[in-house]
């Protein structure tokens, strides 16, 4: 917003006359954000900054948790040493696979919800998608523990029907963690995809069909590209919390399904090595940011030939 001085020539290119208001009226409303700003600085920026500071320190002796009189990158080297690196690899595997499975489940499901489902049922169907999302995270995960238990009824059912010869053996493995995270984050993928598909209005799809495109071609060339922003939001909403998850892995994973979140927690709660735990936390954030950046770069490069060939140009090209 440009500041108007009273004796300057009146140019109203940026604001129509009706929108001009005295400056004293503008001030207070910008200040409305100040309380939130102060709150988040005091309880988010400051503590996370402190963790960043700890990560350059070391653990002094058995009883100390952290010291910062010598600064180094040694804790980062330690966090990336083979034992811990494997956990980061494992976390990345669960994160990427889990997000892809969520995407694969959600695309047909959200499309059905937005396009195919009867209009009068849509509200209740959406509410049904949200119910697990509003049920306690930990309790839902415990529900899976009951289902996947080797001596549980599901295992018994599988054996009785002959699908399995011996008791179900997925509890406390990476597969169990994968089932858990896909379940826990699925609504976060379905909702933005639903909104995205809902925005691709019917006339556009009909126009595509009128111009001779089949339903598959319409979906690939019209609906999916237009829904792209929603797909990106969904991927981020699932991938970021999934990478930092530690509850699902604790309840379903046991020792074999270890994830980075547990490792960070252990350094703070059990090992009492805050310096190393802080470095791990920073590495975790960097892993999330860098892997997301790489994924988008790859997707962008992969779609390059498609975009160069198939771009719809309206009007005459320059």
């Amino acid at each position: 917003m440009t500041t108007h001085s009273t004796n300057a020539p009146v140019t109203m290119l940026d604001t129509p006359p009706a929108r001009r208001r005295p400056d004293w009226l503008k001030g207070p409303r910008a200040a409305l954000a100040l309380p939130a700003w102060a709150w988040l600085t005091a309880f988010f920026v400051a503590p996370v900054g402190m963790v960043l500071w700890f990560s350059f320190g070391y653990k002094p002796g058995i009883f100390g948790t952290h010291a910062n009189d010598r600064l180094s990158f040694d804790r980062y080297a330690e966090a990336l040493s083979p034992t811990f690196f494997q956990t980061f690899q494992n976390t990345l595997w669960v994160g990427v696979t889990g997000t892809l499975i969520c995407l694969a489940i959600s695309i047909p499901f959200a499309y059905w919800l937005a396009v195919k489902a009867a209009n009068r049922h849509r509200g209740i169907l959406l509410a049904m998608v949200m119910i697990p999302f509003w049920t306690n995270f930990l309790i839902r995960t415990i529900g899976w523990q009951i289902i996947l238990a080797p001596e549980g009824w599901f295992s018994g059912l599988l054996q009785a029907t002959g699908a399995l010869d011996e008791p179900l053996d997925v509890m406390f493995t990476r597969t169990a963690v994968l089932i858990g995270v896909v379940y826990n984050y699925l609504p976060l993928m379905v909702l933005p995809l639903f909104v995205a598909f809902d925005r691709v209005i019917l006339p556009l799809r009909e126009a595509s069909k009128d111009l001779g495109a089949g339903r598959w071609s319409t979906f690939i060339n019209i609906t999916l590209p237009l829904a792209k922003p929603g797909i990106i939001v969904g991927i981020l909403l699932v991938y970021i919390p999934l990478m930092g998850d530690y509850i699902t892995a604790t309840v379903l994973g046991g020792a074999k399904g270890n994830m980075a979140g547990q490792m960070v927690a252990n350094q703070f709660q059990t090992a009492q090595n805050w310096a190393l735990g802080s470095a791990m936390a920073v590495v975790l954030i960097l892993t999330i940011l860098i892997s997301a950046a790489i994924a988008f770069l790859v997707a962008w490069l992969a779609s390059w030939p498609l975009r160069a060939r198939g771009r719809l140009v309206l009007g005459s090209p320059k």
Partner: protein, 281 residues
């Protein structure tokens, strides 16, 4: 052609049924197992109401739920007030500060909860013991602070997107008619954003009730919230009471959800708008 069309539709409908079954499987299991009379949650020991009876007799469970409810209400209040003010400022008072503030909100949203948790624990100890602010040794205060961060950002997003979708002319008319800023805010802007504020408040409350990771780190013994109580039970042995409490809480949440849906529908939103508002988009 006709045949093939209906086949695709049919398989999509079948897929939807499977997805709903997947979404509801563990919840239905928890509902059923809350009537488990056995000693351990995982092993079925006959149908009965013992688990519901023992909620009444075990103070530890009631205390944990009570702590969670207190922390939920207070942190939802704080997040709603801070987030609403910030959302209004973001939508209606664009300026150089907006990108910086948005970066802060995005950082708050994308930081994994476990990082918030490990950061807040030493910070609370520092504030409480080194700085001498005894307030931060209080269990409820710690939980409220920890739960309010993410929620504040979420409420700000929801309120902002609601206001951006609304024309500013109503508010301009109010100031043209000489309404002072405060009155304009309380009588025009606030009623306009009410559905978004309500959705945000409910979401904050639920997020707080759900919060396990931050709570597990910052909690003070003596004020253990419900999810942390359950988490410690995961390690020592889950009992059916946990499923019983979950069943009661699920019913309460559904009631609250229905209430919000009714309020939003009164305000004229379609199902899609409600999903967008509640989903934060």
């Amino acid at each position: 052609m006709k045949q093939r069309t209906s086949l695709i539709d049919l398989s999509m409908r079948a897929w939807a049924v499977i997805v709903f079954a997947f979404l509801f499987a563990p919840i239905i299991i928890i509902l059923i197992y809350s009537f488990n009379n056995g000693r351990l949650l995982v092993a079925w020991g006959g149908f009965g109401f013992d688990s519901f009876a023992s909620i009444v007799t075990k103070p530890a469970i009631r205390d944990a739920v009570w702590v969670s409810l207190q922390a939920g209400v207070i942190s939802a209040l704080i997040a709603t007030v801070l987030g609403t003010l910030a959302g209004v400022a973001l939508a209606r008072r664009a300026g150089k500060w907006v990108p910086w503030f948005l970066v802060l909100l995005v950082l708050v949203t994308v930081t994994p909860e476990i990082v918030d948790a490990v950061a807040l624990l030493p910070w609370m100890v520092f504030l409480g013991q080194d700085v001498g602010l005894g307030l931060f040794d209080n269990g409820i205060v710690r939980l409220v602070v920890g739960h309010s961060l993410f929620s504040t950002a979420v409420v700000a997003y929801i309120v902002r997107s609601r206001l951006i979708g609304l024309d500013e002319s109503l508010e301009e008319a109010a100031s043209d008619l000489y309404a002072p800023p405060l009155r304009r805010f309380t009588q025009i802007t606030l009623p306009l954003v009410t559905p978004a504020v309500l959705a945000g408040a409910l979401l904050s409350f639920t997020l707080s009730l759900d919060n396990t990771i931050v709570a597990a780190f910052v909690q003070v013994s003596g004020s253990t919230p419900w999810p942390v109580y359950v988490l410690s039970a995961v390690r020592t042995g889950l009992r059916p009471e946990i499923a019983a409490v979950s069943t009661i809480m699920l019913l309460l949440t559904l009631g609250a959800l229905a209430l919000v849906a009714v309020v939003l529908r009164r305000a004229g939103d379609s199902a899609t708008d409600i999903a967008k508002t509640v989903g934060g988009g």
